[in-house]
Amino acid sequence: MIGYALTFAFACFGLGLLLNIYRVVWAPTKGDRILALDTMVINAIALLALFGIHKGTTMYFEASMIIAMTGFISTVSYTRFLLRGDIIE
């Protein structure tokens, strides 16, 4: 039963990742593009957590922690750049 639920969750988050890629490429405003990149990072973390369940190992959580931090820093620096024209003042 966990296997079926895992397949369903994999399909949902994979489809979400495809929708995010569509939004990154065809975005109406710059804010949407940043938001889509941030959502891509969150979906990638979810996929890594599901992959860890699938493989039965906790090795992938360090990777998802690093991806979470990198995604946060990149989103904040992109928005800071658009707001102030400068990242580190």
Binding site: A9, T29, T39, I53, T58, F61, A68, V76
Partner: protein
């Protein structure tokens, strides 16, 4: 058996929330509306996936791992900050200060107040309370 049902339910709910969050980013009409879907629904979805992972490793594999809790805490702390920054970027790129409704006080919207003006007003307020 009960634990398996719980883990499967967590996985299915997290998948639905993650898909709804990504779909909302595509379907909603206004940029400020589109901000809602990823910052709330997708964060809840990834939280559900991490809870399912923690339950799985504790009850099925037999090892307790607290990495999921750290990732959940980090995501729940940073999602409002990124949402705030994206909303502020959108406001600055598409609206002028004249387009916004009045604030109801003599100070402008905090996002458009210059540093010098804020320092002057705060120094004046501090002088009032001290005197």
């Amino acid at each position: 058996m009960l634990v398996e049902i719980l883990i499967a339910a967590c996985l299915v709910i997290s998948g639905i929330f993650g898909l709804v969050g990504s779909l909302g980013l595509i379907k909603l009409p206004d940029p400020m509306m589109r901000l809602h879907a990823p910052t709330k629904a997708t964060t809840l979805g990834v939280g559900g996936a991490l809870i399912a992972s923690m339950l799985y490793f504790y009850f099925v594999v037999g090892t307790f791992s607290f990495h999921e809790l750290m990732i959940t805490l980090f995501l729940f702390l940073t999602a409002p900050i990124t949402g705030h920054f994206v909303a502020k970027t959108h406001l600055h790129l598409t609206r002028k200060p004249g387009d916004l409704p009045p604030t109801g006080s003599d100070r402008p919207w905090a996002s458009y107040e210059s540093d010098a003006e804020r320092a002057r007003i705060e120094a004046a307020a501090e002088g009032d309370t001290a005197g």
